[in-house]
Each structure stands twice: as C-alpha cells, then as structure tokens.
C-alpha cells in the first residue's frame, strides 16, 4: 500500500517503454518489505517520498527541489551535489537528497560482481535510486543524507578501490566511446587515454582551481559516439593520415548485393538495390572517390576522413594505419554566451604512451585559462573574448589554414607594433612638413 497516491505517475506505467515509475515502485516495495533485513542508513520510505514529491511536481508543474548549498566530502571540491526538498514535512524521506557522482569505468564496461557491490552499498546508505549513467558519464547515486557522504566515500575507496567523479569548477569526469574494445573504426585507444588523463589529473578533478568546469571526451573516430565535439572543452577525436585500406573484392561484393550496405542497418525498409555511385561516390563530401573499371579509387590527399564510405562498406574499407587524433577545444552548452562546438586546435597528434605531447597542449590551455579566464567563464568563452590567436600563443601552435573553416571576411586586423616597419611612434611635426594643416 503506497504511502502517497500518485495518479499522474501511475499513468506512466502504461505503454511499452520501460517505466521509471514501475521501477521506483518496485524498489519502494522492496525497501518496505526489507526481506534481506538491511539496516537502512537513510529513511526506509525515501523512495515513497520521492514518488510523492514527483507527483506533486507533476501537479504543480514546478520542481520541489532547492539549491543544494555546499556539501561534500573532506578535501574534495566536487563529486557531491547537495539537494534539499522544499516540503520536508510532507516528505521527510527526501528532506536531504544529495547526489554522489561515482567515476564510471572506461567504456562503461562492468562485471556484475562489482555492480552488485555498488547496489549493496547504495541500498544500505542511500536511496537505492541511480542514474546509469549521468550525462557526463558518471554513475549517479541519487539521494542520500549529509552524514552518509563520508561513510559512502570511505567504503568506496577502502572496499571498492573506487573514487568519486567531478563537479564544481573542476575537471569533470572524462568519458570515452567504446572504441578499440569493440569497434573497428577506432583510431586510438580511447579507454587507455581517458584512464591515463583521468589519473594524471586527479588533483584538478577533485580540487577546484579552475574558473569553471572543464571536460574531456574521447571519440575513437569522427563518428563521435560520445558526442565529444558538442560537449567537451577538449574533444579528442581519432583520425589517420594514410590511405583508407580498400578490399576490392569486398567492394565488388557490396556492388553485387552480397553484402548489405552500412552493415545492414537499413534493413527495415526497401531502399532498392545498392548503388555505389549514388550511395557512396556521389555522397563523398570531397568528391575524392571514383571507379576505375572495377576498382574503387580514393585520392586520399583530398579525403577529409568523414567516415561515410567506411560506414557504408565496413567490410571493404578500413581506416589507415598512421593513426592519431585531432584535438578540438571549447565546446559547451549555451549558458552564458551561446552554445559552442569544439574548434580544431591540433589537427593531428599521435596518441601513444606516455602522451606527453597531448599533456603539453592541455597544460598550455589550462595555464592560459587559469590566468585569463573570468569566474564562470568556459574555455570557449575565453577564446571568443580574447581570440583564437591567444590560444595559439598559449599552446605554441603555428597558425594553419586548418584552424579555420574560412579566413576572416572583415579586414579588421589588429597589427602589433613590432610587426609594422618603423613602429608606431611618429613625429607629427615631421609629417606636417609634407602635409600642411
């Protein structure tokens, strides 16, 4: 028998898509029963009250959560988001309802043994509700009380060898695509680089020293399956320099219809017979492909590695062997200055242990941003405010036409005095000898 009536939420139990309401209810019941006799460290009816307050929000069309204030674990500036509800009398179970961000493993691979350990801990010391996963990538423990924060942190670190993720003006929890673990398109080991940098920069991740948040995301190729280009202050996107490897027999098999295009993922509808001209060659954005008799040719110098042809014919075409990644910087959501996507800074760098070249760029960017960035100014906003040139200076990277989609169309060039013959100091009276007033 539910603690609160939730007629509106109940409606969301119908329909085929997994119902979060049904899931909440099953946990609520389970806690009420408590078959395993868990010594719940936070109110047993926390989930009932969560359902109740959510129902109230559905009714009011407004949230009932308050800004969290500063809660956290000793010595860390992030990893916890404080939350209190604005109706503690009605819903004492969620009076405190803080979030903990637990740094997910690379590629979000899990062993059930470990997952169950997290469940045990969270049933015991928290609400038992999670997000698998948060948008940044963390495992989100949703809802516990202030006294439990240190306890949970202690158990995580001591028992499970697991640290918290980021929040606040820190490096945020880096995230990667599945990459080489299960993807033939991966141009570098996203998990290895993500893990290395996450550990290298633990201090930046846990102790706020930045003007604002900072995010890394790692995509193994330009398909961008972790959407790094849209949501990381630095996106690491795999790419390569040499030829796309072509298996001409397989090309013929695609042309002959023996292999379905795009790995068969258009099979829900009859698109007619595959045409390499229509579906590949003519869609190539650089028009660098053509057939020479039965041979598919690619002028790799003109290719911009958009992945299309490889995506369409994964059995026939393969990424090159001279692999590395591009670094794009400044992506962010619209607050305050409008959204940005990452802008290309490093066209190509090898991604090999110990990744020193990559770290140099990162640290050059941070030094500049920490020096010049205003409070709550994202890297992208600083780039806009001071100009891409400053970023190049900060990282010691030479200007390159690849840095721009197109050159400036306004001629307003800010020349520096040292660039101009004779400098800027002039004697107006000298000038007046040739030019009367």
């Amino acid at each position: 028998m539910a603690k609160h009536a939730t007629p509106m939420l109940d409606q969301l139990e119908s329909g085929p898509w997994p119902s979060f309401v049904s899931d909440l209810k099953q946990l609520a019941e389970k806690r009420a029963k408590n078959a395993e006799g868990v010594e719940f460290q936070i109110p047993v009816d926390v989930v009932e009250d969560l359902l109740g307050i959510l129902e109230l929000s559905f009714k009011h069309g407004r949230t009932h959560w308050k800004h969290g204030g500063i809660v956290g674990v000793f010595g860390y500036g992030g990893g916890v988001i404080g939350r209190y509800c604005d109706q503690p009398e009605m819903f004492p179970g969620v009076a405190h309802f803080h979030t903990m961000r637990v740094n997910q493993p690379g590629g979000k691979f899990y062993k059930t043994e470990y997952l169950k350990q997290l469940c045990d801990l969270w049933d015991f010391r928290g609400s038992g509700m999670t997000n698998m996963h948060g948008s940044t990538g963390d495992i989100i423990f949703l809802g516990t009380t202030t006294p439990q924060l240190e306890e949970i942190f202690y158990e995580l670190t001591h028992k499970y060898n697991q640290d918290l993720g980021g929040s606040g003006s820190n490096l945020r929890t880096p995230a990667d695509c599945i990459g080489q673990a299960r993807c033939e398109y991966a141009c570098y080991d996203t998990q290895a680089l993500c893990y290395t940098l996450t550990n290298e920069y633990q201090d930046e991740l846990h102790r706020p020293a930045f003007p604002y948040k900072f995010k890394f995301k790692f995509d193994g190729c330009p398909n961008c399956c972790v959407a790094s280009i849209a949501r990381a202050d630095i996106s690491f996107i795999g790419t390569w320099k040499d030829d796309i490897k072509i298996d001409q027999e397989a090309v013929q098999a695609y042309i002959g219809g023996e292999i379905p295009p795009n790995a068969g993922d258009h099979d829900g509808r009859d698109w007619g017979a595959f045409s390499i001209q229509k579906e590949v060659i003519r869609l190539c954005p650089t028009e660098c492909m053509w057939m020479e008799g039965n041979k598919l040719m690619i002028d790799i110098k003109e290719c911009n590695r958009c992945m299309h042809c490889i995506n369409v014919m994964p059995k026939a075409l393969h990424i090159g062997d001279d692999r590395g990644l591009s670094m794009l910087v400044g992506a962010k959501a619209p607050i305050l200055d409008g959204a940005q996507m990452g802008s290309l800074l490093v066209p190509f760098v090898k991604a090999e242990e110990p990744y020193d070249e990559i770290k140099e760029v990162i640290e050059g960017i941070w030094d500049w941003w920490m020096e010049e960035g205003k409070n709550r100014e994202r890297l992208g906003e600083l780039m806009k405010r001071q100009g891409f040139q400053r970023l190049l200076e900060a990282t010691g990277i030479q200007p390159d036409a690849r840095h721009v989609k197109e050159p400036r169309s306004n001629p307003y060039i800010f020349w520096k005095e040292e660039e101009v013959e004779g400098g800027w100091e002039r004697d107006v009276n000298e000038f007046r000898k040739d030019h009367k007033r």
Binding site: F20, E113, Y114, L115, A227, L283, H308, P334, D337
Partner: protein, 381 residues
C-alpha cells in the same frame, strides 16, 4: 535504524584516508573476447534491430544485444541486469553513451535465448523492462537529465516526457526504417545538461517568466553581487526596498531584458522563476554531432513553446511524431534530419511539418543573429 560506521572517523578525517585513486581500470571489466581482440576488430554487421556482431581478425566474434532502459534506475533493476548478465554473459555487461544496456556473448547460439529472455521481462504494469532495439537507423534512447526528479532549476520534467515520447516512438526503436540515425535528447533547462544543442530533435525546458524577488530574504539567502554578475543580459541591478517598514538590500530586475536563463536563480535561491503556465518546452531540430558527410550542426528552434501537460505531454509528443514522420517520408537514404531540412530549405520544413513560423524563431541574440537571416534572393514560394 542505528548508525553504522564504515570505519570513517570524523575526528580524524585524514586517518588512512584514501583519495585520488580515480575510477576502476577498464580492463578489469572486459569480457574475455573483448580483452583478447581489442584493437583487432575487422568489421561488424547489424543482424537485426538491437543485435550486432563484431568480427575480429582472429575470427572471433562478439554478439551484442542492446536494450533500452530508463536511466533513472533502481538497484533492483540493476540487480536484475546482473542476473541476466550472469545467466547469459559470464557476468559482463556494459552501458552505452545513450544509457542503453548492452549484453555481449561470444557465440551466435547464445543470442536468441538472450533476446527471448530480455523480451520476456516486463514490469507488473506491463511496460517492457529490456526492450531490444536502438541500433542502426532506429530511434534510440533519449539522452536526458534530472527534471523534477532531482534538480532545482528545471522548466519541465525529464523522465516523464522521455517516457511519453519513447512510448510514441517505440516502433521506431524496434525497426531500422529511418533514412539515418535520429537522436532525440532532452534537457530540462537552458543549462542543457546532456548537450541537446546538437540533436536531430531536442526537447528543452524553458522558463518564460522573470524571477520573482523574495526581497525579505534575498540579502540573507544570497550574495547579491554574485546574482547580479550571473545575469548575461545585465538585467539585474542592486536596489533598496522597503518591506513592511524595514529597509532591505535587494535587487531589481529589468523584466524586458530577461531571457529566462535562470542563472540568477542558480546563484540566488531567492529569485525563483518556476511557474506552471510560464514553464514549458521548446522544440529544436536539425542538429547532429557526427562528422559523417556534413559537419556537426546545431539544432534550431522550431517550436517556441509547448505547455507542460503532465503526465503525457501530448503537444510535445504530437510535434515530434509529425517531424519524425515527415522526415521519414521525405529524406534520402543516409540523410540526417538537419541535412534534409537544409536540402529542402527551412521554409519547406515548416510547411511540410505543419509548424507555424513565429517571430520567436528569428534569431535576435547578439551579433551572429545577422548570419541566420537570409542574404540572398533565393527562396521557395
């Protein structure tokens, strides 16, 4: 319930404290077939919606079964995932970047039993627990945020609209019938957690009323200078007010300069914006993040406002359904929604999707707005 200590001693917080250890290492959790063939994958096939096979140079294969999940997930649900993974996958499982669950097996014969098992599991009230799908040219899970379930600034809920929309889109989740991938994302306020600004279709919570001013408490609850500094349009000024007789330091807001971003509220809880009629949903469309064929694109605002009609947000689901169906009927193979809209022209997009073009959709935010106006005589009648 008695307080049970983990061993942590508040008096000596630093006593054998462990910090800065980071996440668990990825390779602890790789299934054997992954560990063995990492970096050696040769190609993949999508066998049917939700089922992939990747083939390695070694000849090894890994079969992946993807199923949807509400990422607002209970430990009970996670335990059930573990049970399935142990039954079929030697205790390995993963989650995708869009909050789907992927079970991997190393033999084709293991696929059908796994799929059958997953499809058979339902919640008491009837919804699927683990619907298989979301691959290829389907509509996969909706990336979303907290909404009314946990955050303090939302202008709409997250899990509610997501459930409502995915119920409508369920057939598309189960089929490879679209011209290309179509990504739907939701963010419950302008902060856009989840970066919906580059999605084929974005559902965005938006406030439409300037903050209320809780003068009596403002100075107590907030750092006035921070609140003022937070405003991107400089709509907030310090001001002195008199509330029953007593002079108080507070702020004044130039309402017509407010763009409802909620930054002030993030800095100052005494400036709440939330409102039943005022809050609702903005629909954006035409974004993408992949670099395939065309460069990544921002989503564009195509509907300025839809009400928060809980629990099912019928206006929102109807608009999205119409856009998806129109795209599905009109786009070419491999053509993303934004590529389609640009090819036919946005004037056609609005006509075909039967959406009204209102003044709200014309950019008037700062200098770059100019570049979204039409500087050519080219247009379609």
């Amino acid at each position: 319930m008695a307080f049970i200590s983990s061993g942590y001693n508040p008096k000596e917080p630093m006593k054998d404290r462990i910090t800065d250890i980071g996440p668990r290492k990825y390779d602890e959790f790789y299934p054997p077939v992954i560990a063995k063939n990492k970096g050696q994958w040769q190609y993949h096939e999508v066998l049917k919606p939700g089922v992939l096979v990747h083939v390695a140079k070694s000849g090894d294969k890994v079969f992946t079964v993807r199923c949807g999940g509400a990422r607002l997930m209970s430990t009970s649900h996670i335990r059930e995932i573990c049970e399935i993974a142990e039954k079929h996958c030697d205790g390995y499982v993963r989650f995708t970047t869009r909050n789907n669950i992927e079970f991997m097996v190393d033999e084709e014969s293991k696929v059908d039993p796994l799929v059958k098992d997953l499809e058979s599991r339902k919640f008491g009230a009837g919804s699927f627990k683990f619907p298989v799908g979301g691959t290829g040219t389907s509509i996969t899970n909706i990336v979303h945020t907290q909404g009314w379930a946990h955050c303090h600034t939302p202008a709409t809920d997250a899990s509610g609209p997501v459930k409502a929309v995915m119920d409508e889109m369920f057939d598309y989740f189960k089929k490879h019938s679209l011209p290309a991938k179509l990504r739907i994302s939701l963010a419950c306020c302008l902060n856009m957690c989840g970066a919906v600004h580059c999605s084929d279709i974005a559902i965005l919570g938006y406030h439409r009323k300037p903050p209320m001013l809780d003068h009596e408490y403002l100075d107590k609850m907030c750092e006035i200078p921070l609140a003022i500094a937070a405003c991107p349009t400089a709509a907030i000024k310090p001001s002195k007010v008199e509330v029953d007789g007593q002079k108080l330091n507070s702020v004044a807001v130039k309402n017509e300069r407010c763009m409802f971003c909620g930054n002030c509220y993030t800095m100052c809880p005494a400036m709440p914006l939330a409102d039943k009629e005022g809050d609702g949903i903005v629909i954006m469309a035409g974004g993408k993040v992949s670099n395939r064929i065309s460069a990544p694109k921002f989503s564009k605002v195509v509907v300025a406002f839809l009400p928060n009609n809980a629990p099912r947000w019928p206006e929102t689901t109807a608009v999205i359904k119409k856009i998806v169906e129109t795209y599905n009927a009109g786009a070419r193979k491999y053509e993303r929604l934004g590529e389609w809209a640009e090819r036919i022209g946005w004037e056609r997009f609005f006509e075909k999707c039967e959406l009204e073009f209102t003044h709200h959709l014309i950019d008037d935010f700062r200098d770059p707005a100019y570049f979204t106006w039409r500087q050519t005589s080219q247009f379609k009648f």
